[in-house]
């Protein structure tokens, strides 16, 4: 059974992308030297610092002892410092979380794991006094084709997010229509 848990000190996220169920306490890791222990250490340091300062920034979906999905979210100020897309307005900037990405290993998709992760994010944000969650780079596509480290627009709307922006970007020589969505939870 899949269980959603906050990131704890025992395992700070350092493994991305998540291609298959992953036991964080096993030593089996990839071999690519551009993406090895040093990269993982930089990532761990970042997530640890954000967790210590803001309470948390990662939710994990566990099945037994293995991670089968995760959702990363960041305070808007942190997201902006990293160059992630955020809404332009600074209203509620200190009280807004930015959904960053969600990964679920292929065999666990279409089993409501994403819904549980996003609902857990909303619950966590409410409990900690955050007032808004925003998400960007949302594709219009239906649920199935919308999977690009995120959902397509229909799922966000179904869970209560409203469209807060609409824009186009060039992506691999294609002009793509994307959306921003937001949920007020104050």
């Amino acid at each position: 059974m899949v269980e959603i848990k906050e990131m704890e000190e025992t395992y700070i996220l350092d493994n991305c992308p998540l291609g298959a169920p992953f036991d964080p306490f096993s030593s089996a890791r990839g071999e690519y030297p551009g993406y090895g222990e040093r990269a993982r250490e930089i990532r761990r340091r970042f997530f640890r610092e954000v967790r210590e300062k803001y309470g948390n920034c990662v939710l994990f979906a566990w099945d037994g002892g293995r991670i089968v999905g995760f959702l990363i979210f960041l305070p808007k100020l942190v997201a902006r410092k990293l160059g992630l897309r955020t809404s332009r307005e600074d209203e509620l900037i200190d009280n807004t979380l930015v959904y960053v990405c969600m990964q679920i290993v292929p065999q666990y998709r279409n089993r409501k794991v994403g819904t549980e992760l996003v609902n857990s994010l909303i619950d966590w944000a409410q409990q900690k006094g955050w007032e808004r969650i925003e998400a960007h780079h949302i594709h219009k596509g239906d649920d199935a084709e919308g999977w690009r480290w995120s959902w397509g627009l229909p799922k966000w709307e179904r869970i209560g997010f409203r469209i807060s922006g609409k824009y186009e970007v060039d992506l691999h020589d294609r002009r793509v229509q994307l959306f921003s969505v937001a949920l007020d939870i104050g």
Binding site: C16, P17, Y32, P33, G34, Y35, G36, E37, R38, A39, I42, R43, R45, F46, F47, E49, I72, L74, R80, K81, L82, G83, L84, R85, T86, S87, R88, V100, C101, H136, H137, Y167, V169, D170, L171
Partner: protein
């Protein structure tokens, strides 16, 4: 830095897909391609220290942090590469092998 060395600057955004090479791999790349690799981590760079960085790096970080800059906003993490101050246009696949190809082509061109 030696005068004939090229400089590869890498800006990491630490939440995802960063390609921070292992030290031994980095040394190997530097020696093989006669380059100097300089890395910066966006999380560790405060706005008030941007002016102390090479101009192409500070400009890129400023643009990334500007929420009204839609052109840059698609960038969502990972590592951005420059060769002698010019941003490299790389695909989303692993970056160092792509950089090596560019360096290889560059070195072929320089050979008499």
């Amino acid at each position: 830095m030696k005068s004939d060395e090229a400089v590869v600057d890498v800006i990491h955004s630490p939440w995802c897909f960063i390609e921070a090479p292992e030290e031994s791999y980095k040394e190997k790349l530097e020696e093989k391609w006669k380059i100097k690799i300089r890395e910066s981590n966006m999380w560790e760079i405060e706005d008030d220290t941007l002016d102390s960085l090479p101009k192409h790096i500070s400009k890129t970080i400023r643009e990334l942090r500007d929420p009204s800059n839609l052109g840059m906003a698609w960038y969502a993490g990972g590592s951005i590469f420059f060769l002698n101050g010019e941003r490299l246009d790389l695909s989303p696949a692993l970056k160092w092998p792509q950089v090596e190809k560019i360096l290889e082509a560059r070195s072929r061109k320089r050979k008499p």
